[in-house]
C-alpha cells in the first residue's frame, strides 16, 4: 500500500469525512510529511472507491457546492488493519531490544 493511501484510509478510520477534512487529517497524522494536492487526493479517492475500500455515505450542499462524505468500507478497514500490522511487524525487527555485541 502506498503511503498516501495508508494515511487517507487512516484519516477515515474513526468517522466519515469530506475531501478537505481528509486532506487536513492526512497532513496532521503524518506530521505534515504527506501533503496531498487536491488533484492527487481525488485520484486516490476515485481509485479507492473503485477498489471498494471507501464509499460515499453522505452528500450535502455547502455554499452552493456539493460536498460528499467518505467512509471506510469493511474491506477498507481490513486493508488498513492488515497494512498497520505488516508495518508494525517490520518495525519490530529493527526496534526490538537486542543484546549489544551479540552472544558471548
Amino acid at each position: 500500500m502506498r503511503e498516501p493511501t495508508y494515511y487517507i484510509l487512516a484519516a477515515l478510520q474513526d468517522e466519515p469525512a469530506h475531501g478537505y477534512a481528509i486532506m487536513s487529517r492526512v497532513a496532521e497524522l503524518s506530521g505534515d510529511r504527506v501533503r496531498l494536492a487536491t488533484g492527487t487526493l481525488y485520484q486516490a479517492l476515485d481509485r479507492l472507491s473503485k477498489e471498494a475500500l471507501i464509499e460515499v455515505v453522505r452528500e450535502e450542499v455547502v455554499n452552493g457546492r456539493a460536498r460528499r462524505h467518505y467512509a471506510l468500507t469493511p474491506d477498507g478497514h481490513s486493508a488498513l488493519q492488515a497494512e498497520a500490522a505488516r508495518m508494525a511487524a517490520a518495525a519490530r525487527v529493527v526496534l526490538r531490544p537486542r543484546a549489544v555485541g551479540g552472544a558471548a
Binding site: 493511501t5 469530506h18 486532506m23 487536491t38 488533484g39 487526493l41 481525488y42 485520484q43 457546492r65 456539493a66
Partner: protein, 246 residues
C-alpha cells in the same frame, strides 16, 4: 481570480467527476496555485483516458497499430507500384478495416475473426511478407480472451501512421515521438505498452530482411530494436505496476 482559473481547469475532468466538490476543497485549502495545478491537469487527463485492463487494452491497441500501419504501408507501396493492386490485397484491406472498426468498438470476437482473416488472406497472397508478419502478430494479440476494451484513442490512430521503423532507427522527429510516448506514460502507460508490443514486429521484420553476412549490422539493429522494445515495455509496465498498487 483563483476560483475562475480553477473552474476552467476542472472543466478538463469528465462530466461525472465531482468538480464542484474539488473546487470547494481547492478554495478552502487556499494553497499556492503552482502546487495544485500539475496534479489537477494530470488527474484530469488520467480520468479522461481511463486505465482499466492495462495489458489487455495495450495488446488490442498494439494490434490496432499493426493493422493500420501495415495497411497504410501496403497502400503506399501499391501507389509507388512496388506492389500489385490485386483482389487479394483489396480483401486484406477490407479485413483490416473490419478489424480496426471492431477494435475501436470493443467487439472482441469480430475483431479477432477479421484480424485472423487479414493474416490468412495476406499469407495466401504471399506478396507482402512484412505485412504478413505484422498481421500475424495482430491476430495473435486479438485472440487473447478477456472483457471488452474499446480502444478509442486518437493518439494511437495518429501513431499508427508513423513508420515504426523510422522511430526505432532514431531519426530526429521520430525520436521526439518516441520520447513523447514515454512521457505520456505519466498519464496513460497503455500507449507505451502498445508501441512496445508493436515494435516487436518491426524488430522481427528487420531481422528477417538483413543479409546473414552483415554481422555488425545485425548486432546494431538488434540492439536498437531490443532497446526500443525494452524501453517502451519497461516504462509502460513500471507505470502499470505502480498504478495497480492501491
Amino acid at each position: 481570480m483563483n476560483e475562475r482559473a480553477y473552474e476552467v481547469l476542472l472543466r478538463l475532468y469528465p462530466a461525472g467527476h465531482p468538480r464542484d466538490e474539488m473546487l470547494d476543497v481547492l478554495l478552502t485549502a487556499r494553497r499556492p496555485m503552482w502546487r495544485e495545478v500539475p496534479a489537477l491537469v494530470v488527474g484530469a487527463l488520467r480520468a479522461r483516458t481511463g486505465n482499466d485492463h492495462r495489458w489487455l487494452y495495450a495488446a488490442r491497441a498494439a494490434a490496432l497499430l499493426l493493422l493500420i500501419h501495415s495497411a497504410v504501408g501496403s497502400a503506399r507501396e501499391v501507389e509507388a507500384t512496388w506492389l500489385p493492386l490485386s483482389t487479394m490485397q483489396i480483401l486484406v484491406w477490407v479485413a483490416v478495416a473490419l478489424a480496426v472498426g471492431a477494435i475501436i468498438a470493443g467487439w472482441r470476437v469480430p475483431a479477432a475473426l477479421a484480424g485472423v482473416a487479414a493474416f490468412a488472406i495476406s499469407a495466401a497472397d504471399g506478396v507482402d511478407w512484412r505485412s504478413v508478419t505484422a498481421y500475424s502478430l495482430a491476430a495473435v494479440l486479438l485472440i487473447i480472451p478477456g472483457p471488452s476494451t474499446p480502444v478509442r484513442n486518437p493518439i494511437l490512430l495518429a501513431l499508427a501512421l508513423v513508420p515504426l521503423d523510422a522511430v526505432a532507427l532514431g531519426t530526429a522527429p521520430s525520436w521526439l515521438i518516441g520520447l513523447g510516448v514515454l512521457l505520456w506514460a505519466v498519464v496513460d502507460e497503455r500507449v507505451a505498452l502498445a508501441v512496445g508490443l508493436a515494435f516487436c514486429v518491426a524488430f522481427l521484420q528487420v531481422i528477417a530482411d538483413l543479409p546473414g553476412s552483415d554481422a555488425r549490422g545485425v548486432l546494431i539493429l538488434t540492439g536498437s530494436r531490443v532497446g526500443f522494445v525494452a524501453a517502451f515495455l519497461l516504462v509502460g509496465a513500471w507505470v502499470a505496476r505502480r498504478r495497480v498498487r492501491v
